[in-house]
Amino acid sequence: MLIQQLINGLTLGSSYAVIALGLTLVFGVLNIINMAHGGIFMIGAFIGLLLVTEFHVNIFIAILGAMVGGAILGYALEVCALRPLRRKQVSHLAPLISTIGVSIFLESVALLIWGPQTRSFPTEFTGSVIDFQLFKISTVQIISLGTAILLMVALHIWLKRTKIGKAIRATSLSTETASLLGVNTNFIISLTVMVASALGAAAGVLVGLTFDAIEPMMGVVIGFKGLAVLILGGLGNIPGAMAGGFILGLAEVLTVAYGDSSYRDAVAFGLIIILLFWRPQGLFGSKDKGGRP
């Protein structure tokens, strides 16, 4: 049973990790918490579902389509809700509130278009179960776990090994200095928000596939879990978000497996509190950089 529960925990954890990746990327560069991330996540799930049910495309193309949709939404978010505030140099709380506004807007639009009912991917996508004696894993779980890990590794390499990645890291250290050195910081910030939103949309499709429940409020709870992972891993830290996601997922599942399912969230979040007592900057955050990449 332990191996099976570990698989369950990794699947759940990978979805938390992909959610937290987008949040941590935006925090790292802009120093704000993007509350609209859950909304974009939800829209991404609906785009994926539409592509699959209406246009009958392959699931990987649906994920790509959702990422493109998420990136467009991310650009709109940056232009409408973040850039005007940045120009006026208001406090960090203002973008927090404006992104909450965007998330409420996205939820309402989704309610209007798709209604409150829970939808799910057609059964041919939920796939079959492969039985390896010790544990069972469904093809969906493999796809979602694999895609999540692939996205994390790709993002990590992109940030560390490419010129644009370098520009993003420079902007995250200091927007002014980067701009003095010839980096087009407005472009870099837009790009970061777009990539983060594309990741969020991809996470939406993956979670929609794995847990089979797509509805307008699906981004709310998982958005909060993403925030917890963001803080656990270290604000703005990419490997931290990945590890934090897996830790939270495993903690939740193991609480159910060896404890009591009523305490699922209590134990998982209690664990986070204890970890933060020990390392207030998060697991992977360093004190001097404020945890940024």
Binding site: D212, E252, A257
Partner: protein, 394 residues
């Protein structure tokens, strides 16, 4: 010293004055509202009775709420067409599944719209929050859907025709035990939902009285989507039967996950399993779900056939239990109005409803017991090939 004392006094009296003004304003408002209520409430007998329907037409529970609204509206349409019936004007309010909204809507229909009776609220939580307001204002609050324990203990004006979950689930477990003869069971319930917690208690005590061993008990929360950890644990405990207390969304996800994991046990479900939406959502995984209900669509009964045909013609879908109970509920309201001989007297209506006799609706023969709960037969159904059918033996 003296000066300071004076100053303080001045401050004090100013503040007191402000408080007094505020208080008197509030009192005046309250008297105004109460005055409105009493002056219009006892107005002359008109031939049209105003009845409010509190249901949920937006938010998570909207799928049930629409059924309630459709069933009630169909009944009112039929009643108003009849020659010698009491005409009903139905006023629909959306509680959005939010206790505050339910309280606001209840105050509005009682004080402002002066309805003779309130049908609903739909959810047990809304009923516990808003029901006492109606009871305090001596207005009947008649829910057609709230199945939790203790609903009618709100007071003498609280009625329901929904079979309490305690009876429906207990009956489903008893009949399933008789026919399937299981020895071990596992329970899974939503622990942040009043109703499901009460279902869990009922299930536990029923199983114990039958001598069935409960091998595992797991919880989750409404709106959860990941049940793999709990189900892996249940699968390992390997019970003969699984009992699930949840709304239909979680119910669908649970049975789908169970079948995907290769669990073949039959599932006794709570109220939420008793809607075509459940079968549609769960697909083939719905087979083997067992539920206790007063509403059996395939019953060999002319009333049931007529209702299904009329409902289908009007809305294009099959009626579910919630539509059937709301439909019967409106007919009960009409009969009580007729018996009371008034379309505005709330007190007479209450007594007429409590003494309702010889009522036969689409959910069968019906009377209220002394606690204003329904006394009626429970039918136990099983999903077979995507259809609700009477539960058969092995």
């Amino acid at each position: 010293m003296k000066m300071m004392g004076m100053k303080q006094m001045g401050h004090m009296s100013k503040r007191m004055m402000r408080n007094m003004i505020g208080l008197s304003l509030v009192t005046a408002l309250a008297i105004g509202v109460a005055g409105c209520g009493s002056s219009n409430g006892g107005s002359a007998n008109s031939d049209e009775a105003k009845v409010a329907l509190l249901t949920v037409t937006s938010g998570g529970a909207a799928a049930y709420g629409e059924s309630v609204k459709n069933g009630a509206e169909l009944a009112v349409e039929e009643i108003n067409k009849e020659a010698n019936s009491i005409k009903i004007k139905l006023q629909v309010e959306d509680t959005k599944g939010d206790k505050n909204e339910a309280i606001n809507a209840m105050n509005k229909v009682i004080h402002k719209d002066n309805v003779v009776a309130v049908v609903g609220p739909m959810l047990s939580g809304d009923m516990f929050a808003a029901g006492p307001i109606a009871n305090k204002n001596k207005t009947v609050v008649f829910t057609t859907t709230s199945t939790a324990e203790g609903i009618t203990e709100i007071g003498d004006y609280a009625f329901r025709n929904a079979v309490p979950e305690s009876i429906a689930v207990a009956e489903a477990i008893k009949q399933a035990h008789e026919k399937l003869g299981f020895k071990t069971a596992a329970i899974m319930y939503s622990n942040n939902n009043d109703q499901m917690v009460s279902v869990n208690k009922t299930a536990e005590s029923t199983l114990q009285s039958l001598g069935v061993q409960i091998v595992d008990s797991e919880t989750f929360a409404d709106k959860d989507t990941d049940f793999s950890a709990q189900l892996t644990k249940i699968q390992r405990a390997n019970p003969d039967i699984v009992i699930v207390a949840s709304l239909y969304q979680e119910g669908i996800l649970i049975v789908k996950k169970m079948r995907e994991m290769g669990m073949t046990q039959k599932v006794i479900g709570s109220n939420g399993f008793n809607t075509p939406v459940f079968i549609k959502g769960a697909g083939a995984a719905a087979d083997g779900a067992i539920v206790g209900t007063p509403w059996f669509p395939n019953k060999d009964d002319q009333k049931v056939r007529d209702f299904r045909a009329a409902y289908k013609a009007k809305y294009g879908t099959e009626p579910d239990q919630f539509a059937a109970q709301a439909y019967d509920g409106m007919y009960m309201v009409e009969k009580a109005l007729k018996d009371s001989g008034s379309t505005t007297d709330r007190e007479k209506f209450r007594n007429a409803l409590a003494n309702l006799k010889d009522f036969i609706g689409v959910t069968g023969k019906f009377v209220f017991d002394e606690k204003r709960n329904p006394k009626m037969d429970v039918q136990v159904l099983e999903v077979v090939n995507g259809q609700y059918d009477a539960l058969k033996g092995k």
